[in-house]
């Protein structure tokens, strides 16, 4: 599926022009957008002068949906149509939703598609739709503040997000018209924000307790390289749970067994939240809320009582802390710094107990609510090509093992957790029946031995296998995990060299077809502008491809291509140039595809030549000149 590339309409990138890129922290409770401006990263404020918006969307049948604070205000009056914490449902199936507390707060259609949808006044909305609405709002803030269209964004996800959750996040970005430069793990982003400021080498722990998720990561930082040694966490644990527990406590204190409606629960939750926040700096928090004529909540909560309430939840964060230390094969004393991320790390008990666990004072220099977005912005600036000399390189790992279902419902691990990505592993299969032409693969993610205890990712069906006797076909299946942590599967029959075709049925996500439909639907909603925009984007893409291949040809085209091959490529470039003069985005797209196909041999040869040089230990500087990188593109 092609992503919409957002660029200055009708223009190609001028040399040395700054490419606008942002970092987005798409949070369970709040979302932020940040960018590097004049060399330093900062969070962008929206039209209301707020640097974060609640991750809340309100749907209505009368007017357009509203997002953020405006939506939050509707929560008490119109709870079913005011969707919050949608991030918890990203990449989740009906069973997960039924078990979640969200099931009590909202009405769902569980049977409409492969993923459940909120029933709202504006129709059924999936968590992907809700996230897309939030991302659109952030994109608007960014484009208004920065004064131009974005080339792309780095969007952060909890390190523990599985493939389905990452894919859902990428799909939401596609729906909101944002080109994803990279999905970045939240703790890694936090380390980027801190790393550049302090420049320390060594092992750092990132303890991230946000509104809805907990992550702990160990990172090795060395000369600008951040390597994730290990990561663990809990996708259903965070400050929201503190609020819920405090709300339950307040309700019990008042002797109220049943609240009149969902709106009342929300008011109570807001009260609980403010009590919690008060206790970050006070020993005692008095509270009072008159719900109606019969029910009034009035009393006070001490720090000690609060600590007792949240203690069981806090304790759940320590097992993953021990796990990452074990996984990384280090001792607790090897951890040189502990970075606190997420609003819930403002809770004094959390700071104290984490300091105790790691036997050192935890770091809280950068605002724990902003640190992730700031790190993402720094990475976005580098990926957009604005910092050709940057030393920053992130080496990330896959958070959960990928496996295949084998006989008897057991899991065979293909790629174990904490393997550095990107990574590819090939696995060979053979047919077990005479004349067999198809084969089914079930890919799961998780650490357990039984398929039923792991998370189902997708069912792949291999077709068009040559009909032979049993065992005669050897099918090599390649599992490729890209730098975003997303899995792609391809298959090859080794005897015949035939590529088996694959049908993918994601277990808890959207198929490419569904996404295309959603994109089409959103385009039909909009006006002619969208078509113009699509054309403009395609033109920018066309110019970019011409620039990229042109500069490569100029550098060493004759070295790698015969005269005939060269003139073929030149003809394809000319063809693309001509298509740019016309107003058909399809024609441009086809011309781009032809040129990329026609020049693939050239690209392959010069890449391989570069690697050979590299392997021969040639000076790295020379290699740098011979490789077309993002930096060359923006400078050429």
């Amino acid at each position: 599926m092609a992503l919409l590339q957002i660029s200055e309409p009708g223009q190609s990138q001028a040399p040395h022009q700054r490419r606008l890129a942002v970092g987005i922290d798409l949070g369970t409770t709040n979302s932020l957008v940040a960018s590097v401006i004049s060399g330093s990263a900062s969070v962008l404020k929206d039209a209301n002068d707020q640097w974060s918006i609640p991750s809340v969307v309100h749907y209505s049948d009368k007017h357009a949906s509203v997002i953020g604070n405006a939506a939050q205000e509707k929560a008490a009056d119109d709870p079913f149509n005011t969707i919050r914490s949608a991030k918890r449902l990203m990449g989740k199936g009906a069973d997960d939703v039924r078990e979640s507390w969200l099931a009590e707060h909202y009405q769902f259609n569980y049977d409409g598609g492969s993923i459940p949808a909120f029933k709202t006044a504006a129709g059924e909305k999936t968590a992907i739709d809700v996230s897309a609405a939030i991302l659109s709002e952030l994109r608007l803030t960014a484009e208004q503040t920065l004064g131009g269209d974005l080339v792309g964004a780095v969007i952060t996800v909890p390190a523990y997000f599985d493939d389905a959750q990452r894919q859902a996040t990428k799909d939401a970005a596609a729906l909101s018209g944002i080109h994803v430069l990279r999905l970045l793990n939240e703790p890694t982003a936090a380390a980027v924000a801190y790393g550049l400021d302090s420049g320390t080498d060594g092992v750092v722990a990132i303890y991230d307790l946000g509104g809805g998720t907990f992550d702990i990561s160990l990172l090795k930082m060395q000369r600008g390289v951040f390597e994730v040694l290990a990561t663990a966490g809990n996708t259903a644990l965070g400050g929201d749970d503190f609020d819920n527990a405090v709300a339950d406590w307040i309700q019990a204190q008042a002797g109220v067994s049943q609240l009149p409606d969902q709106g009342a629960r929300r008011q109570l939750l807001r009260l609980a939240r403010s009590v919690k926040e008060t206790l970050s700096s006070a020993m005692l928090a008095p509270y009072e809320l008159k719900l109606n004529a019969d029910i009034t909540f009035k009393g006070e909560l001490s720090v000690q009582q609060f600590n007792d309430i949240i203690e069981p939840m806090f304790k759940k964060t320590l097992a993953p802390c021990r796990q990452v230390i074990r996984d990384a094969g280090i001792a607790k004393t090897d951890v040189q710094a502990v970075v606190m991320v997420g609003g819930s790390t403002r809770v004094p008990l959390v700071r104290e107990r984490v300091s105790q666990f790691f036997d050192q004072t935890v770091l809280t220099d950068i605002d724990p609510d902003q640190v992730v977005a700031i790190g993402a912005a720094i990475q976005a600036d580098v990926l957009a090509g604005n910092k050709p000399d940057s030393e920053l390189l992130l080496l990330d790992v896959i958070p959960l093992s990928l496996g295949l279902e084998t006989m008897g419902g057991l899991v065979e691990k293909i790629i174990p957790r904490n393997t550095t990505i990107p990574i590819a592993r090939a696995q060979e299969f053979t047919t077990y029946k005479d004349g067999q032409t198809a084969m089914a693969l079930h890919v799961v993610q998780g650490e357990r031995e039984l398929v039923s205890d792991c998370r189902s990712l997708a069912n792949f069906e291999l077709r068009d296998i040559p009909a032979r006797t049993a065992g005669a076909c050897r099918i090599q299946v390649l599992f490729q995990v890209d730098a975003d942590g997303l899995l792609m599967v391809s298959a090859l029959e080794k005897e015949s060299g035939v590529l088996a075709s694959i049908d993918v049925k994601p277990s808890y996500g959207l198929s490419d077809g569904e996404i295309e439909q959603m994109l089409k639907a959103s385009i039909e909603h909009a006006s002619e502008d969208v078509r113009k925009r699509a054309l403009a984007e395609q033109k920018v893409e066309g110019s970019r491809v011409i620039e990229a291949i042109g500069s490569a040809l100029a550098a060493d085209g004759d070295q790698h291509l015969t005269a005939d091959e060269r003139s073929d490529v030149d003809a394809l470039i000319e063809n693309l140039k001509q298509s740019l003069e016309q107003d058909s985005s399809d024609a441009i797209k086809q011309a781009i595809e032809k040129l990329e196909a026609g020049s693939s041999a050239f690209v392959e040869r010069r890449m391989n030549a570069s690697v050979k040089q590299l392997m021969a230990g040639q000076e790295l500087e020379e290699l740098e000149r011979s490789l077309v990188s993002a930096d060359d593109l923006s400078d050429s």
């Binding site: 430069l181 097992a319 590819a424």
Partner: protein, 179 residues
């Protein structure tokens, strides 16, 4: 698109083909390779280049992992000498070794009920670590003598130790979870 990498991980990392490697050299070479090949360096490049970068970086990651871990490095060396480890017909192991393994497994099974389960697990870990160290030196000398039959035997025993070690860790995780 096929990437024309050599199949030899040692060459990729500019190392002699032998068991003993400098981890520092591995780390440094790994970083400099990734600095040039990683997909982040090709975020704005053409699809073909991005695909190539992903494959090249995957290959380097795979090679780095194979060479960084002692057992996988030993197994890889065996495979370079055309020796395969996973022939199911071949089940012969020294009875002495199997006895020791059974005892360790029994100890592991009893550990959760011990007065101090962590101490019990630590004791097993210590024994396994000794075994791994012995395996390393046995492998090194077998490889130095080009005695690949012996080297293979060592690696097969070593695999038992690693498997048991991961079970010790899993047991530890279960103890942690119960805290």
């Amino acid at each position: 698109m096929q990437v024309d990498f050599s199949n030899n991980y040692f060459e990729l990392f500019e190392l002699p083909v032998q068991y003993v490697v400098s981890q520092d050299h591995l780390d440094t070479r790994f970083r400099s390779l990734q600095r040039y090949l990683h997909p982040d360096k090709f975020a704005s490049a053409s699809d073909a280049e991005r695909r190539w970068s992903m494959q090249a970086a995957s290959f380097v990651n795979e090679a780095y992992q194979a060479l960084s871990k002692p057992l996988s490095r030993a197994s890889y060396l065996l495979s370079l000498h055309g020796i395969s480890l996973d022939e199911e017909t071949d089940t012969q192991m020294s009875p002495m070794f199997l006895m020791e393994q059974m005892e360790l497994r029994e100890a592991l099974g009893d550990a959760p009920d011990a007065a101090d389960p962590y101490a019990a697990l630590d004791k097993i870990s210590a024994q396994l670590n000794n075994g791994r160290r012995d395996s390393e030196s046995a492998f090194t000398s077998a490889a130095n003598n080009a005695d690949w039959t012996e080297a293979r035997t060592v690696v097969r025993q070593w695999q038992f130790l690693e498997k048991l070690n991961s079970e010790v860790q899993a047991q530890e995780a279960r103890l942690d979870d119960a805290l």
